[in-house]
Symmetry: D2
Subunit: 477 residues, 4 copies
């Protein structure tokens, strides 16, 4: 048997004669991580099996022990999956829970599994495996929402809405262009998630308590068995590094910020005042008393959950601050917040995908708003510039026109060519083109701009990006 | 029946013909708060009973209905307390859970309970009641830890240890003085908790959805019945204010900061290098392999949990940012973090009290450290100043003495009067007083300083403060 | 001369022969706090004068020295106020800057000022004095905004607007009621600021480096001279406590949250879609190109600055985490963030007061919105209940009516009594009262509700609260 | 002249007749970003020159104008560099400052520079260019510290110290191994910085206010001219994306967490109790009064500054939460915090590099500590296991031995072979090898472990990683 910081048989046996008192139940419960970490049982079993196989290959364990351990762990996994496993808070954590049961099931060989490892490297290994799996789930969720946005952009191509700056109507844009802005945010989220995945993708196993061990371990072999791309280069770093969790917390936080922006707009657009979209009943709630009420509850919830994910990030940053090397118990606080961040983001991505996919787009309300607010004024002035009038003069002429329209409650689009010419003789018969909302949009031909052709090209680029993301995903699943 | 934003009989009945689709199960689960808010069942029942009695007194409900409701709610509470209540996620939250069961139990009268109220004011009321109760628990925990510190300060009065600045030994202090520094931090925590209590102590009930109701409610009466000191002055503020939760989160955060500082010192003092204290086995863990290991796990855990409580505060601040009036669903995210903060602080206070009460104080190690580090140099220089030597010269003389001692591996305390005189003739036979650690401490007679008499006076002041806190507590329990 | 942790004459003289190397300029600049803390020069001078007078009274300094010091400090203050003071980064901080100059000006007596104190208690004293002063400024700002809100509520009493939950129109409310909701938030901010003031209001002076001193100081006397209500009970706590800064950061953070909510609404209401208010040109910016643009820049900036104040709070919480007693240099990072928080909040309060005071309230747009959205449906159903129809049936009848109106593009208010009666014979000639927006508002008579009389009573209560706040303020100024 | 959201000639000219009032000076100052953003003047000039050249190539501007603009901007840059530029708060921001001066200098051509762009895309472009430059500075700082750590690891190869878990001595490790743990943390920081660089490395220029423009811009050309790798795909995303700043804030935050851990250890190791290192006088401060004091001020400051950088991250996350598309003025708050984070990290990296490079390593104190604490117990038990004794029995035997040594104040290393054999006959003459600290270290041969050969291999791997980082850096400089 080999060095390890902690062992499996309970405190009395574990710590020998030095300890005369034991924690009372409340204290023990305070110290236990089992309620939090037991969700990593699959990863714990996978890591133990890889460790056992490696110990066998290196001649530390004999083949019979390895077989017994691997099969025994499979059996433990089955009882956990079946919900029949007898969890016991005395086992403190998932590692002890699995190992105790294994030893009860297969006898002494179970005890030999812990050769050349420690809970310090074990928990780091399990957590990395778990986070790799969950990051894949999140990537799938991101891709799902990107697909939903792309579909909506496709289905409503040509719909024009006001583009806003400072929440004031600025220039008309394609609704599809607006949707694609979110698509690209999510592409950056994909990259951050991949970075978090890569950060998790190195094996700490074999670092033991902090210094490596005296056993002839083959860390590369167990790493490969578990699907890691490599091993962590320094054993002290291996047991005390939690950057990969910070990276994931951070990736989740920024994605939640993006969802909060999108949900803010969905909420705004669902108001009586905007009325740009109607959320599906399945993503709304009502009131038994006020029949007029239809509340965008789920969009609000997603927006509200942004804080908790950022709170999870702050929590871990603060916990890690000023911790000396190597392992400190503070680090037990590393997982709960990240689990929460991952669970929250996964649920929010699914919820927003559903909302976006099922919402009704009220193209008429969008167009009416786009024709209000005098958003064509810029193009009308540009028209006059084209006729040789200096911009400043053109600006003044159009300004007066806007003022006149405002007083009469008219839009620029409602003016006839004759009325325009009456206001300023340089307005020719083609001047109504200048205020045509569709043409204003179409004229913005810059790469990445809102012109129809530019948006089509952008969407093509988006499809290609999405295909690349999907390829990454299928390479990992 | 009266206006209310939400009702109790399930979506179909609730929202009428306007809604054609309903959330799928995952979405519904995403939206439900029941798993989080059901811990407020006692407060929900208390608030409903007060509401019913007030409606009776105002003639809105008849006496038979009121009696049936009050008794029915007692019965519901008994099944919850007994663990036999049938929770159903379709009920969404604790309010619906209780009210649905009540109506199943007592029939139509149950439905009339919701007259003149809304879930918007109901959840605010329950949460305030709950937080008042929990704040009392936290105050008890704070007072408990203060008592433990006072006891330790008493039990070890006279023990001298190094006082540190920059983690360098600076001047000797009484261990009791050091303990009392934490005592006073906790007195400030008491004040912040009382402020949070007072912030929660006003009734929103009767604000209904956001605007008040058309029923002749007596808000003062229901407030008094529930034990609130008054009512919230504005109905829109009443349903959208979450300051009282921020105040509690904040009070918990600062108290955790204090505990993190104390635990940092307990951990430091438990190192082989310091050795000032020995934590009880009950608050330590060991290693099955390394018999020398005794880890201050629980102090580390408390330190590590500081981040999560501050994370809870950040979460709620971020959630509340930029929310327009009045109620928004984002606010459903208000409770989980505060519950976590309160639970965490309560457990940590108990844990640290236990640690402090059971630790062994190694007075010898403290004294040895206090005599090392040349902390008497200042007083030795002051001695020479008293003999008429200018401070700068005295500083130089003592500096040389320190250097000589350092080279010979001696402490200032080990020098004889003769050796001192040999170094500088102004050192008289009383010069050894100047380096006597106990006398150095005793000389610091300033109010609030570390001199024995000053610390005794401080502890008397502390006892009086503690009595005041206890009086507050017993007035609330 | 007495003990002190640091002295005034520069490193060479200060630290004697033990130090052979000195920081290079970049490192020294990195360590210096002067650029940040020099704004506390008035407080530094005030504290030094009080200290000198106390030393005189206690016989530690003679009267001539005290007079020279007090007058000399006045002279230093005058040069700083005049902008002619020669700041020197070598002086590291404001304390050294003032003291060096004093000693250059008045000679040896200047050196004696530092008797019985240390920079550790000095910086704590100055900071507390400074924050007391600035908190008073903030309270004035809060009261100013409350006054502005009260004025607006007064000036537009009777204007009806939609009350929102979930950003959906829920029930009509008085605009004054809505304004008063913010008024009360600010009353809570006042309380938090007073709590921060009280937390700062105790003198650390006399605690010296950490342990008190051997000089016969009268801490109560110097505390009273500086205007403190008392002294801090424990010298180690005195030099290491930064709770009073956290309390102020926190008070600022919550107030900024409130302003962010108000500004979110001002921005929303300024959109073309809502149009409830028109911000003054003085609080708007435009575009040279798009004549239609009028942006609520300042409201956006205030909303955007919320993050920085909360960031300041997080910064200090994180800095204080796990710091052992007593003073650590980390604490030098305590001031910059709080200065930023205080400056930001003060500017934002003034900006929002100006915005609110000068905005135009578009009562017609508000009323039109209040008549849209079928917000009268509840009261119409209640009318039928009053005629003996069960609520559920009434709800159904009104629901059908809403649907019919929606299809015809009509509001409930546009229906004649005859049309109502045609829909359901129980609608009598008084049924139009039920949909009258003003009457709907008026019916909500609950204390704290939106009914006209209730709001008047609430405003009376508000005026009284404001008078109480103003009394506190004038007692401090 | 073309569309733009803002223009250069001051409010009166800019916003025409619609605006009747203007901000007072305080409000204008509140809104101005010039004091913050003027540090980006080089980037602003670079971007404007690229824009002008592109407009020339596209035939929008004629060659003479382009030449005048490019030369004029160079001249403006020279006056700024020389410190003779006349900054004016009325110019609001760096863009207006540069452009106003240019137009004063070269006349009308200056006005034509703003063709087809807006301040919305301009500020995004400048900020990205600036952050790319500063990220390169940070990478250089990271590499510098890694080099310092590698040098220290090299210079003290073979020095043994205690490895800690839970701050308790666990197993002896090479000091070089401990240093390398930090080396690898910094390698991850390098990766995060590169990710932030890549996130910034795409051009928003040409997105104009939010929708693209009607001018025939070649965005790829101006992007290439400025050294961007590509262009942002969506114009609305281009003006509202601040992810690249979050990424940089985050990279800085994690790096500061790493530095806080390193500084915590430097502070601990500098205590009288540990005494493992002696910081250079150049990175220490002392006391004029207490000659024994030598404070690790700079390590404390770095540790203390961790909070501010994390605060900067929280600030920006909170600011971005829930912002609708596209540009909102809140985003003006994006830069100050990131500037602070970058400046802070840069200074801290330099400071820690200096500290590490100049500290004295007290190998004797480290070894003495490594021989204390019975850290050889594990290997002694393993020795007995090798002799055929079951581990549990071996553990007991060694446990008793430890206890005996503890009572006699002896270390395991002080025992002779005979004494060992007397305790247990299985201890042969080679048993003293088992407790030899150097041999214990050497036996940990696992890849990544602390054995001498393993650490040498690790350092080789580190050198190779460092070379790769340096190659990236030189490719960018």
């Amino acid at each position: 048997m080999a060095e390890s910081d902690k062992d499996l048989e309970g405190n009395d046996a574990l710590w020998g004669g030095r300890f005369e008192e034991h924690p009372d139940e409340a204290t023990q419960r305070f110290g236990a991580s089992l309620p939090v970490d037991r969700r990593m049982w699959k990863q714990d079993i996978k890591a133990s099996q890889a460790h056992a196989r490696m110990l066998g290959a290196q001649g530390v364990l004999d083949g019979a022990d390895v077989d017994a351990i691997v099969a025994g762990l499979d059996a433990v996994g089955e009882t956990i999956a079946a919900g029949t496993f007898a969890w016991n808070i005395d086992d403190e954590d998932i590692h002890m829970s699995v190992e105790s049961q294994l030893t009860r099931d297969i006898g002494e060989a179970g005890g030999r599994l812990h050769t050349g490892r420690s809970r310090n490297d074990q928990v780091a290994t399990d957590t990395r495996l778990y986070m790799k799996d969950r990051t894949i789930d999140l990537v799938a969720g991101v891709i799902g929402l990107q697909g939903a946005l792309m579909n909506v952009a496709d289905a409503h191509f040509g719909v024009v809405m006001p583009g806003y700056t400072h929440m004031q109507r600025a220039q008309p844009v394609l609704f599809s262009h607006h949707m694609m802005a979110y698509f690209w945010m999510l592409s950056r989220d994909f990259k951050r998630l991949v970075a978090a995945y890569d950060a998790a993708d190195a094996s700490p196993l074999g670092s033991a308590a902090l210094a490596g061990t005296t056993y002839p371990l083959d860390r590369q072999a167990s790493a490969a068995d578990m699907g890691f791309s490599g091993v962590i280069a320094n054993s002290m770093d291996a047991v005390s590094d939690r950057d990969f969790l910070l990276d994931l917390d951070y990736a989740c936080s920024v994605c939640m910020i993006h969802l909060s922006r999108m949900c803010e707009e969905l909420i705004l657009w669902s108001t009586g005042e905007f009325g740009f979209i109607t959320l599906s009943d399945a993503y709304s709630t009502g009131s038994s008393i006020m029949p007029q009420k239809k509340n965008p509850d789920f969009a609000e919830l997603v927006r509200g959950k942004t804080g908790r994910v950022v709170g999870d990030l702050v929590q871990l940053l603060m916990t890690m601050k000023s911790l000396p090397l190597a392992y400190n118990k503070d680090m037990q606080e590393d997982k709960e917040g990240v689990f929460d961040a991952v669970d929250t983001l996964e649920a929010c991505l699914a919820c927003v995908s559903g909302m976006v996919s099922t919402m009704r787009v009220n193209a008429d309300r969008m167009r009416a708003a786009a024709e209000g607010g005098f958003m064509a004024a810029t193009d009308l002035a540009d028209y006059l510039v084209g006729k040789g009038i200096p911009f400043r003069k053109a600006h003044e002429i159009v300004g007066e026109l806007v003022l006149a329209c405002e007083k009469q409650g008219r839009t620029l689009q409602s003016l006839t060519a004759a009325e325009l010419a009456a206001h300023c003789p340089e307005f020719g018969s083609d001047a109504t083109n200048a205020v045509d909302i569709d043409k204003i949009v179409a004229r913005r031909t810059t790469e990445g701009g809102t012109g129809h052709e530019a948006v089509k090209a952008q969407m093509e680029q988006g499809r290609s990006a999405l295909a690349g993301e999907a390829a990454w995903l299928s390479s990992k699943e």
